[in-house]
């Protein structure tokens, strides 16, 4: 049995999901030979540390760690000093400076700890630096949850499609935009109406700029460009246009001619823009779904679809990343 001690940094929606999923899948993980223990959880209020593993029921009902913390050390101190093998970084995303996640990841990798994250910011800002640091320290940086949430994309390209030359990736990478466009097309709602509905249902933030202006999708394009295509690009290299100018009339016109309008991110073109997608295309997914088409030389086009966000869904991608780190060494190794 391989014991894996995990430090969880960030205890918002995804952090809660990680605690829940690790708890729920404990037996399955043990059957696989992995004993996953969350030994510390940190948020902006403090840290809970328990070297034998934190019982999910002790923290899951707490919105923050205010009432259960037993340390006030800084998050970087915790990452460095707590005895852990792996850091799960799920603090809020900032794609301008990447903090606080960037500092957390650098600290963890420098200490020789694997990093698994759903936080796009640090990867958009400093992917090459983080990757180099991970390679130097002989540890892994895994980030499946940053692009397309639970939809397997990076691992699909890196592992399953290995041997293929990846010519490009195109996809619907933002569930909020997709929900808004779907509802506008279905109900002939104006944009502002559909946005309000998405906000009421919790699919869009009070300030939706990040999603609807294409910023979030562009962040994912940068991550794919840097990780899959080794491009070393920045956010400012992406040509971005959001969905705010789309009218219900445009959607109706498109639909009559057999097209949906989707916000499409594309690599290596480095574009984010609304595009016409044939209604029969596997990329023409509705509601909050994400979809990605991978264009390859041997396998032609492979399309995946799935939920791009959500507490449990994102945690699921994080769990897969954790397992893949240990599988790399034990099961899939080439001798």
């Amino acid at each position: 049995m391989r014991e894996v001690k995990i430090s969880l940094v960030g205890y918002g929606v995804v952090g809660h999901g990680v605690v829940e999923v690790v708890g729920r899948k404990r037996k399955l993980m043990r059957d696989l030979g992995l004993d996953l223990k969350i030994v510390s959880i940190t948020d902006h209020t403090g840290t809970v540390i328990s070297p034998d593993g934190i019982a999910p029921e002790k923290v899951i009902g707490e919105k923050t760690l205010q009432n259960v913390k037993n340390s006030d050390a800084s998050s970087k101190d915790i990452i460095r000093s707590v005895n852990s093998d792996l850091v799960v970084e799920v603090t809020p995303t900032n794609i301008v400076h990447g903090q606080p996640g960037l500092g957390h990841m650098e600290e963890a990798l420098s200490c020789g700890k694997h990093v698994v994250t759903s936080n796009k910011g640090p990867l958009v800002v400093a992917y090459s630096r983080l990757k180099k640091l991970a390679d130097e320290k002989g540890v892994m940086l895994k980030f499946e949850a940053t692009v397309g949430g639970t939809m397997p994309l990076i691992s699909l390209i890196e592992r399953t499609l290995v041997g293929n030359k990846i010519l490009g990736v195109r996809g619907v990478f933002n569930g909020t935009c997709n929900y808004i466009l779907t509802r506008m097309a279905e109900e002939k709602y104006p944009y502002s109406f559909a946005l309000n509905e998405a906000q009421e249902l919790g699919y869009a933030e009070a300030d939706p700029t990040y999603d609807v202006e294409g910023v979030d999708t562009a962040g994912k394009v940068v991550i794919l460009a840097n990780s899959v295509f080794n491009m070393d690009v920045k956010y400012s290299d992406v040509q971005v246009r959001g969905i705010t100018e789309i009218t219900p009339e445009a959607l109706i016109l498109a639909h009559k001619r057999g097209y949906a309008i989707k916000l499409i991110g594309e690599v290596p073109a480095l574009t984010v823009k609304p595009m016409l997608v044939p209604l029969g295309s596997p990329l023409a997914v509705g509601s909050t779904l994400n979809a990605a088409a991978i264009y390859t030389d041997l396998s032609e086009t492979i399309t995946v679809t799935g939920l791009g966000a959500g507490r449990i869904e994102t945690a699921s991608a994080i769990l897969s990343d954790i397992v893949s780190i240990y599988r790399t060494k034990q099961i899939d190794a080439i001798f």
């Binding site: 195109r170 445009a250 498109a254 016409l276 295309s281």
Partner: protein
Amino acid sequence: MRLSMDLELQDIPGQLLLALQPLKEIKGNIISVVHHRDRKTPRGTIPVRFIVEMDRSKLERVKSELQANGIVVVRAGEERFIEEVTVLLVGHVLDSDLGDTVNQIDSTGFAEVMDLSLVMPGIDEPSSAYLRIRATGKEEILKSLAILRAVGAQKKLLVIEPIEAEAI
């Protein structure tokens, strides 16, 4: 000589016979007739493509007889435009001189706007236009899209291109 003809027929009985009549008179040999019922035009007509074995010198006579029978001859005897693409424009499409936008494509000589519909929800509100463009080849389609992109940037229009236009 084998020639193709794109016609538009009204969706009422007897139209196909009217279209066949002039071909019969010049003893043309009809190779195929494809009825695009699924691609009804905004005018309510149905596109039909004929491939006919006939003497090219008789083409003008056939065209004028078809037109006299009330049939729209979209294209006859030429094989120039072989690629097509659909684009949507959103914004102040009409106020920003739609005629000029179309002309920028038409004046290239290698592409033309063959279908256009416009929806204007209200004064001062952004309108949407559907454009179907055809061109002499794939390269020319991409050039046309580049022209539209530049026009869009200049006239502050959102240009929505289809994903299949640019193969990766």
